[in-house]
Symmetry: C2
Subunit: 353 residues, 2 copies
């Protein structure tokens, strides 16, 4: 019987040197951003009818090759389907004649090979796993994702999200290795998109030039008004996009999130609107109508900015677009145009223009 | 001789149940954001004069208590100073009479107990460790930081950085658990600071009201000008702050980073300035002086925004202030005021006002 020879190659299904492993990973050609792309084939698998002693003896052969054999995976002889997992310490501390199939935990958390790498990584962190087996549709074990790789993946994803939120395309190389030309290329794209979005702020102001000409003082408050709107939009969109990235907010939470943000935006608007009213009242020497216009614009604008800053990322996510493209500058630019329309409309009303 | 009895309590220095471990961690009272605050005392340590057999027998007693004993730490009998580390698989696959002191790797990477938790976590990821021992000044082993905890820490830190970069204080609770009142509190502080920073944009425009009154059209370009400056500032500050957080950029890189950003800002300014010139030329029906003012303002402003967006976080870091407080809205607000001064100064020059 072959299982009486612990040195028989069939007792240990897979254990290889890192070089060989890298080669195999390449050959397997899974998408680099999938569970398959980040797993390592350097795991150790045995059959359930081996004894603890036979398994330890078999491991002895591969100890120097398999870097991490803290877990031994148990697969069926028939089709290599994953049956269970056995932590090394349980294995070596068991009676030597106990069968692997009896020692293993059959309750194994696995992920499919085509799962997004970030989702797979987050399962490892959320459940505090040291390793996560990756399987195909037939539950055949293909590789494992280890906790030490996961931190790297999540760090990379966070870096990309931060760069996108700031309004650039991700650099994909360490900052000090990025040439000014690369920095330029990664930033100019979004600047051009944002330029297009802000293109209309010029037109809007031209359209309202009659109001501006009559009350030139109105123009003095434009930067602080759209600035405040943009700040609230930036706060909201950063918080929401991060909450979506870590899986706290999902598309079906849309109403709850938007409600929460609208209320928050309104509350912020009450405080900032009151302050802005006082600032404008002071600047205009008590021209109440301008101060009212400024105050109410801020109230409406912060509510609008918080609401739209919550809606856009969630809607994009529903459309299967990465919500992180809605950067802080994007929301700010969006709020600039709408803010001007709100401002001039209110000015027309309060100043009877 | 006590080491002949493998069940002797002294052979295994520490191995405890999670409840007990949590209690001890609390008692130890290390700062929660230090290596001591995130380490677990659930490690296993033995003396170097034990044999592999004795060690395995000793581990057998604690197998169910110590959740993770993939590494056995070796400490001196005299003062419990860390001497080396022995991976479990090497231990169990060695000859049973080999001494732990001969099997262990003496070359262990450790961190001091008072190291910042983020720096400790980053050592684990950067070096792809499964566990990192934490020691006191006398190299006495106090606990270990495991790879599965590290990902959680880095995720939390990234979330805080993203929330700060967006212009809020970190929420510290999952988004869906945050009430609108909490969201309000975390956002209003920075909005007030930014309001103070933008307070002067009103004054600046009032000071230049004579120029604005003469050429009302100048006001039409203010939102797109300061918007573009703010966008470049946001791009820069997000990239730099993340590069500093992951340890790629350090304070001594200041000249290199600022040089790189100034060149990038200038290049972006050339493209955006040309576009803005064309936009203004079109809007003003060929009033070249206004178009030149707008174009040159963008050129100077993007260079300035990129430069200052690189300098401020590095200077703050030198002053030991967390650079992540320099949010995208902060840079935008800062750029708003300076942008207006540049704009009106150039307008005075080009329009001979």
């Amino acid at each position: 019987m072959e299982r009486e020879d612990p040195a028989n190659a069939e007792t240990v299904l897979r254990a290889m040197e890192p070089d060989e492993a890298a080669e195999i990973r390449e050959l397997m050609a899974y998408a680099p951003d999938s569970a398959g792309g980040i797993m390592t084939p350097e795991y150790v698998a045995v059959f359930p009818d081996l004894s603890a002693y036979e398994t330890v003896e078999a491991l002895r052969r591969v100890a120097e090759e398999a870097e991490t054999i803290n877990y031994v995976y148990v697969v069926s002889r028939e089709d290599e389907a994953l049956l269970g997992v056995l932590p090394l310490h349980r294995l070596v501390l068991s009676r030597s004649d106990a069968l692997v199939g009896d020692l293993m935990s059959a309750d194994v958390i696995t992920v499919p090979v085509d799962l997004d790498q970030e989702e797979a990584a987050r399962i490892v962190t959320d459940l505090d796993l040291m390793a996560l087996p990756v399987v195909d549709r037939d539950n055949k074990l293909l590789g494992i994702i280890t906790a030490d790789d996961v931190a790297d993946i999540l760090e990379e994803e966070a870096t990309e999200d931060i760069e996108r939120l700031g309004g650039s395309q991700p650099l994909a190389v360490p900052y000090l290795h990025a040439s000014p030309f690369l920095l330029f290329r990664k930033r100019i794209v979004w600047l051009l998109v944002l330029f297009a979005a802000q293109f209309f702020t010029v037109t809007i102001q031209e359209n309202y030039s009659d109001i501006l000409e009559q009350v030139i003082l109105l123009s003095a408050f434009i930067p602080i008004l759209i600035g405040t709107g943009g700040n609230v939009g930036s706060q909201t969109v950063s918080t929401i996009i991060r909450a979506m990235a870590v899986g706290e907010v999902r598309p079906h939470h849309v109403m709850r999130v938007v409600g929460k943000e609208a209320i928050t935006g309104l509350a912020l608007g009450l405080v900032m609107g009151a302050l802005m009213f006082l600032r404008a009242d002071f600047a205009t020497g008590g021209t109440m109508q301008i101060a009212l216009t400024v105050g109410f614009t801020v109230l409406i604008l912060t509510t609008w900015a918080a609401t739209i800053g919550a809606i856009i990322p969630i809607v994009l996510s529903k459309l299967r677009v990465d919500p992180a493209v809605v950067s802080a500058p994007f929301i700010s630019s969006f709020v600039d145009g709408t803010g001007l329309i709100i401002y001039f409309t209110l000015a027309g009303y309060f100043l009877n223009l």
